[in-house]
Amino acid sequence: MSSAFDKGGLIKQPGPRLRKFIPLKFVTKHGAGKKSTYAELNLTSMVDMLTILVVFLLQTFSASGELLTVSKNITLPEALNYKDLEQAPIISISRDSVTLNGEPKADSSELTRETTMDWKIPQLHDDLVVLKNNFKLLHPDPNDWKGLVIIQGDKNIDFKVLKKVMYTCTVAGYNNVNFAVSQKSKGGAAPAGH
């Protein structure tokens, strides 16, 4: 077989391996049935693995970070059509309580039992108004105010509680109500809000 080596082409005969040049006895000696303690590290597969890891982690990377932490006693419903989260006051509704940014504001079971026509939750309303006023003090431009609030509700709560919270938000000036959901995978399709 006429090889490229004879013709002095670009393909060269492989040179000596690194192991041969290490001047350590235990590396160079392979005598008398003694097992070599030297283990070669296959760098090619290691670099491959690291590259795949980086690509996977970059794909799952979220620039918005963790804006929302789900409470222990809340299981979010799943949805296929969603938008990215934004910074906003978070109202959590579990089967026990209604909280605003982690502070309890009302009792869910009491809200379910109530039959009054007044849907406003006074404590929640007052605190939302305080938050709104604080925001307006810090951002005097009226265009900055989007009235966004995120409701993080347990999937088993009744609509009765939800409508009272939504009504309170609207009365307090938060007209842009959003529901927090878990993203349901849909086979690689882009979300609706993108």
Partner: protein, 160 residues
């Protein structure tokens, strides 16, 4: 270490074409990237759904749509049935399926409604007080999938 060591060409003065890649800084960079990405990774995939509310406070008569425009309303009833109605008087009842709402039929009904009213983007969902939140979200999700992105959520008492 680690680089593909270029073999001496042996032919006086000719530069070898092989280039040695130093893998050590490359592996360092990859390791730093992996550490950073693992630390900043968010594994819970949370998002939000937009909803418009038609409550007692903003259901003034001035908010009524013009007479020539069709209004689409979907009633979510507590007995696991849907009722899809148009302001023209047409109404479609979607019966329960195995003790749950028939979401497949709902999707078909909404798709047909979208065909009939291609320019309509809004849909009003009216639910009973005892309907569970998860079912409302699923209904809203189907409505958005059927190209009704502006979903208004209200109870049955408000304006109808």
């Amino acid at each position: 270490m680690g680089g593909a060591a270029p073999t001496p060409s042996g032919k006086g003065g000719k530069k070898p074409l092989d280039a040695a890649i130093n893998l050590v800084p490359f592996i360092d960079l990859l390791s730093c990237c992996i550490s950073f990405l693992l630390i900043t990774a968010v594994w819970t995939q949370l998002a939000r759904m937009d909803v418009t509310q038609k409550s007692k406070s903003n259901s003034a008569p001035t908010d009524e749509p013009p007479q020539n425009q069709v209004t689409l309303t979907l009633f979510v009833n507590k007995d696991n049935t849907f009722t899809f109605s148009k302001s023209t008087g047409e109404s479609i009842a979607i019966e329960a399926k195995a003790d749950d709402y028939d979401y497949v039929k709902l999707a078909d009904t909404l798709a047909q409604a979208k065909k009939d009213h291609a320019d309509k983007e809004d849909l009003t969902i009216k639910t009973d007080d005892v309907v569970v939140y998860q079912k409302i979200i699923k209904t809203m999700d189907i409505a958005i999938s059927a190209k009704f992105p502006t979903v208004t959520l209200t109870d049955k008492g408000a304006g109808g």
